[in-house]
Amino acid sequence: MTKYTVTGPVAFMEYEPGEEFDEDLDPELEARALERGSISKGSHPRKKKEDGNAEADSAN
């Protein structure tokens, strides 16, 4: 089992954005979900809106 956090704006499996979960994901599914940012590995506290803006700014 691996710990993941839903980092995308929509639910992943039955887990809501920001929620942490432990699953044995199919490696290919995991790779796609990680690449598009739906989930990340490990535990990540949900970002505040300000953080989201800062992230967007830094991306520009």
């Binding site: 980092t7 995308g8 704006p9 929509v10 639910a11 992943f12 499996m13 994901l25 290919e28 599914l29 796609r32 979900a33 690449e35 598009r36 940012g37 739906s38």
Partner: protein, 140 residues
């Protein structure tokens, strides 16, 4: 289940909940009608069901954010990936006899978003079965 207005459907693709980005879903399952008629006094035709063709077509809103429609669908199309598709009428209620879930492993053979000035950005994607199990309804 009583008559319903479709509002709370859940559409999950590649384990990603794209319900909020979809406004219409259409499942079709058609069996070829094979004529096995022989000579008979009434001249009527006789048929047997042949190969079954299934598809699920979804109207998506074009959205290009992290983990949204484009990122989810284009990768699947580009890499010819097989992925799980699920649709059920009530996304809040659990799957059951009165809330069956259509499931199947699917591929996308065509991807064509577009845009028209002043209009909502929507496009259709058709999912075809990727294995012999096809699409089927599950109640558990």
């Amino acid at each position: 289940m009583p008559k319903r207005i479709a509002l709370t459907d859940k559409i999950q693709l590649d384990s990603t909940d794209l319900s909020d980005f979809a406004r219409q879903v259409q499942f079709t399952s058609d069996d070829a009608q094979v004529d096995v008629s022989g000579f008979n006094t009434l001249g009527t035709n006789e048929y047997l069901p042949g190969p079954r063709t299934q598809s699920v077509t979804v109207d998506f809103y074009g959205s290009y954010g992290t983990g949204e429609v484009h990122q989810t669908l284009y990768t699947i199309y580009k890499n010819r990936t097989t992925t799980a598709l699920k649709w059920r009428p009530d996304g809040v209620a659990v799957v059951g006899v009165s809330n069956p879930e259509l499931r199947g492993n699917a591929k996308v053979y065509s991807y064509g978003p577009g845009a028209q000035r002043g209009s909502e950005d929507t496009f259709q994607v058709t999912f075809m079965p990727a294995d012999a199990a096809g699409f089927d309804y599950f109640t558990t």
